[in-house]
Amino acid sequence: MALVETVGVEKQFGATPVLKGVDFSIERGQVVSIIGRSGSGKSTFLRTLNGLESIDAGSIQIDGARIDARHGDLRALRLKVGMVFQQYNLFPHLTAGENVALAQIVVKKTPRHEAHAVAAQMLERVGLGDKFGAYPDQLSGGQQQRVAIARALAMKPSVLLCDEITSALDPELVGEVLSVVESLAREHMTLVMVTHEMRFARAVSDKVVFMHQGRVWESGPPDEIFDRPSTVELRRFVQ
């Protein structure tokens, strides 16, 4: 069974349909990139996967947790899904280490010293082992984003969602974040990313999904999508 599976997901903002029936699935350990123009619904779709956006029709199943338009246990779903945002969204009143430890302590009731040990380990993993006590505003954008990745990983999610995580970064800081993502991909973390970094998407993805007008327009292995697009919309987009 697929780790993540959505069937006919629909979403409207007011009278405007944003998602018009998205069917999507990925296997454990896969890296999937979602590409498309702005307004194609790709970020909205990603946000439905952890319930930040409710859905109007269809269903979402992630590693045994299931939601549909009417009900669903959001907490159970969110325990399976980690998310990294474009704007990092670190908690500015907490240090990097406390940012990573907080949800373990609060949500999973992990004893503080254990949570801090996990936090230190996760920060080490993203190359920030020496920044445990630093506050977010003492870190660069790239470092903040890596803390955000560590924060999501610390909850041991089954799948990690990345919503344009390099778009807010200065160009010279993009590399350090992408290399962390790349190392996660190598360790077979299941990843779904919305990205504008086409070259990166091509290099790390097992599957690329092109969204257009609220639908999955085309999807397949990166070489196929980028070299042999079968629809005119994708051809225009990748050029």
Partner: protein, 216 residues
Amino acid sequence: MIDFTFAQMLEALLLAARWTVLLSLISFFAGGAVGLVLLVMRVSRSRVLRALVRIYIEVFQGTPLLLQLFIVFFGLPLLGIDVSPWVAATLGLTFFTSAYLAEIWRGCVEAIPKGQWEASSSLAMNYFEQLRHVILPQAARIAIAPTVGFGVQAIKDTALVSIIGFSELAKAGTEISNATFKPFLVYGLVALIYFALCYPLTHYARTLQRTLYGSR
């Protein structure tokens, strides 16, 4: 006319000022506690709770404190509930303060970027966990200066309870002035005592503003 020495006047006023201080403290802390509950309801996801609190706040912000005190003091006895000036004053000030503090604090909570809610939601925290660990600690930082500022207002507002016969600083001033025929001196002293109570707070609010917004 009764002859009071200056020292006697000052002593009487200072003794009455104790009640002003006590009343200010009670209205501020009770109002703060009620205000916090109102705040949690005001920013909750329940439309009913939000609407209820909005009505509460609009009623108490939209009518004079004086009238609220009248209604509690003269209105409740008509319903068969006898209230002493002390109880009426405390109740009236608590309603009023809580409405204002809830509204000040709501502004502070809403100043916290939406991304903070989203990040904590996506970490599977529930509403109270988000408030307790992520939103309120940040909102509190912003809230300190305006809250202390409102505290100054609350001290001065206690003067209004003299009108329902509660003998605090303003009321004592009126009584002594009536007895001595020296209104300028007596009310001048009363004003000075209020100033002495408020100035440290104003000053403190200003310092907080500087230290909290100057650095991190």
